[in-house]
């Protein structure tokens, strides 16, 4: 049984660190100037809500797909192995 796992003290990437330190946007109060070509969250969906309920439509959310690809943490691969596992594991 192979139990060795490569030990490499991984450093968090800049993107990982940004994700950690970034503050939550106050969707109703922060006026964000998105770069040209980026759709903002459908303001109609979020306007006039008294509660802080915010919705994001599919088109808005899909824009992040190619933009943010960072692993959630430096130990993600290990964590994934322990939970989802290798798809080859279960084929036996």
């Amino acid at each position: 049984l192979e139990t060795k796992t490569p030990v490499e003290p991984a450093q968090p990437t800049a993107g990982m660190q940004s994700l950690k330190s970034a503050r939550f946007l106050a969707v109703q109060h922060d006026a964000v100037n998105y770069p040209e070509g980026i759709r903002s969250p459908n303001p109609a969906l979020n306007a006039g809500k008294n509660k802080a309920r915010h919705t994001y439509d599919l088109a808005f959310l899909m824009q992040f797909k190619e933009v943010f690809r960072e692993k959630p943490s430096t130990d993600w691969d290990l964590k994934l192995k322990e939970t989802v596992g290798d798809s080859s594991d279960s084929a036996r």
């Binding site: 800049a14 994700l19 946007l25 922060d30 969250p41 809500k49 309920r53 994001y56 690809r69 989802v84």
Partner: protein
Amino acid sequence: TNAASDSDIRTVFHDAENFNVKHPLMNTWTLWFTKPPSGKGDNWNELLKEVISFDSVEEFWGIYNNITPTSDLALKSDYHLFKKGVRPEWEDAQNKHGGKWAFQFKDKKAINIDALWLHVMLAAIGENLEDDDDNEVMGVVVNVRRGFYRIGLWTRTVGKGKSSEQGKETLTKIGKRFKQALQLKENDVVEFSGHTDAAHAGSTRAKAKFVV
């Protein structure tokens, strides 16, 4: 808000490595995974694993872009995306009186399960499946099986609590939005059944309570 603070807002679209705001989700969500049984009498609790919880759009994509796609999972695997604090099992007290909308895709090769599951997850975290005060959506699930893929949406109730007409109306509206997220045709039938009905029916299928 003023002009000075606006210019300090850097989203991931401005700089993916150095941003200072992230997009909050309405709820914190937990992703769970069911491992296929090994056939050695493993217990369900050991097969159901909590993978990660997240509360921003950015973090969702970091996870999605770095996790095994549904199409690569072994048979008998499930992904569950549930509101934090709810176990994706009908035994959880919060699911006890609930039910689910579900659709089986029987022609596995004819569909893009990764895109469909993604769209359903986005509808859930983007809060497009229910209205402000519905408080029905518990989570969504995809099952990988030999003969089909199935995508489900779990609700808190089976339409009880309020007047039954109103309850049915709320669940039907949610079912229609779910059907839309699944890109189904008008004549495809999505069925709702209560968890307890399904449990009592044993291995046979519970009778649908509602359809859309």
